[in-house]
């Protein structure tokens, strides 16, 4: 993360703090998504120098990918990446969809294909407007997320280029 010099242990503590706060808030699905993202290994392409070094070490052919664990900072960045997708990208997408269809957001909803009385609670009709934020909310979200701005990786700042 830019503008910080906290240790690996502290990044992990921050990550665990985020998970516990999500659990307290009842955001179980997002928490699970974050855990999956954070535990996924990083796949990197090897450099030509690496390739030259490896070709001297082994006789047979091996793959070019290097698979490694995330560093503590990358674990937290992956978590913030998930939050950015949900809090920034999704509302913009929902808003653009309404514009493309030329239909007011209040008039668009998602419903399941069977009797509502049989539906799971989370399948209840969802109005598109629930996915959209107003300008004030958008500014607050951007300001809150800017505290985690990174120089690289999934936590990088997303700007709306429209």
């Amino acid at each position: 993360m830019a503008n910080s010099d906290i240790s690996g242990e502290e990044w992990l503590e921050l990550y665990r703090y985020l998970l516990s706060e999500l659990e307290k808030g009842g955001f179980d699905e997002v928490r699970a998504e974050i855990e999956a993202a954070a535990s996924a290994p990083v796949v990197e392409e090897s450099t030509p120098e690496d390739e030259a070094r490896i070709s001297k070490l082994v006789r047979g052919e091996v793959g070019k990918a290097i698979i490694r664990r995330r560093s503590p900072e990358e674990v937290f960045a992956a978590a913030i990446g998930v939050l950015r997708s949900r809090l920034v990208e999704l509302p913009i997408l929902a808003s653009v969809l309404s514009k493309h269809l030329g239909i007011a957001q209040e008039r668009i909803e998602f419903r399941v294909d069977y009797e509502q009385r049989y539906a799971l609670v989370e399948s209840e009709p969802v109005r598109l407007s629930q996915l959209i934020v107003n300008n004030e909310e958008s500014d607050s979200l951007s300001a809150a997320l800017s505290a985690f701005r990174t120089t690289n990786g999934p936590g990088k700042r997303i700007t709306w280029r429209r």
Binding site: V43, V126, A147
Partner: protein, 227 residues
């Protein structure tokens, strides 16, 4: 320099916002459906840029319904349980429809959910009349798999979609569309036999939107000129 305590405070600030509480409570299904609907809306744009007409149509109420009901889960194209909407399109002298989240019967007889599909209107009408499933045959013009990734994508969904495409007769466009890419995903979709990849399609990037719309438009123009 941010300290650990300052960053914890920043977490509290973020999760304390009312917008965060509302958006984090959504289930991932809703995010997926919204992304599919977004892709549907881009397909409608492609029809308009090709010079065609696209009309939102409710299965029960007809053109321009008061409430646009989109599928919150995969279902039957003929279902009238809700006033599900599709886009009724005309291009040149030909009619076709754009649907989201409809279950098709593959060439093998297995069923497949296609996130966004474009099929000939006559076939869709047969399906609505008969109550049977649509087929992934020559009437299916395009099959589009959509995925709203919240983290780095892997290849498993693309692998599954490759299997689905093999169970279709040759349609004009098979595309894998997602909001994020990864080296692995791009490599997997790079061979010519793979579905056409649009792995950067997001509302944050109008250039990627234009590329997708132009591709769909070209497919529709070619289809319209055929036969």
């Amino acid at each position: 320099m941010a300290t650990l305590n300052q960053l914890k405070q920043a977490v509290d600030n973020l999760l304390g916002l009312s917008a965060s509480k509302r958006l984090l409570r959504l289930n991932s299904n809703t995010c997926e459906r919204a992304y599919e609907a977004y892709v549907l809306s881009l397909c409608a744009e492609a029809v308009l840029s090709a010079g065609g007409a696209a009309t939102l149509t409710g299965i029960n109420t007809g053109p321009n319904p008061t409430t646009v009901v989109l599928r919150g889960a995969p279902g039957d194209m003929a279902s009238r349980a809700q006033d599900f909407c599709f886009i009724d399109c005309v291009l040149g002298g030909k009619r076709f429809e754009i649907h989201t989240d409809v279950v098709y019967e593959g060439q093998s007889g297995a069923n497949h959910e296609i996130d966004v599909s474009i099929c000939e209107a006559a076939h869709a009408q047969d399906v609505r009349q008969s109550g049977r499933a649509p087929r992934t045959n020559k009437y299916l013009i395009a099959a589009i798999e959509c995925k709203f990734y919240e983290s780095t994508p892997g290849v498993s969904l693309a692998r599954t979609f490759v299997g689905l495409v093999k169970d279709c007769s040759t349609n004009r466009l098979s595309a894998f569309v997602s909001n994020k890419s990864s080296g692995g995903l791009d490599s997997y979709l790079s061979p010519t036999w793979a579905p056409k990849p649009f792995t950067d399609l997001t509302a944050l990037d109008p250039q990627a939107e234009r590329r997708f719309v132009a591709n769909v438009e070209q497919v529709l123009r070619q289809w319209e000129r055929s036969r």
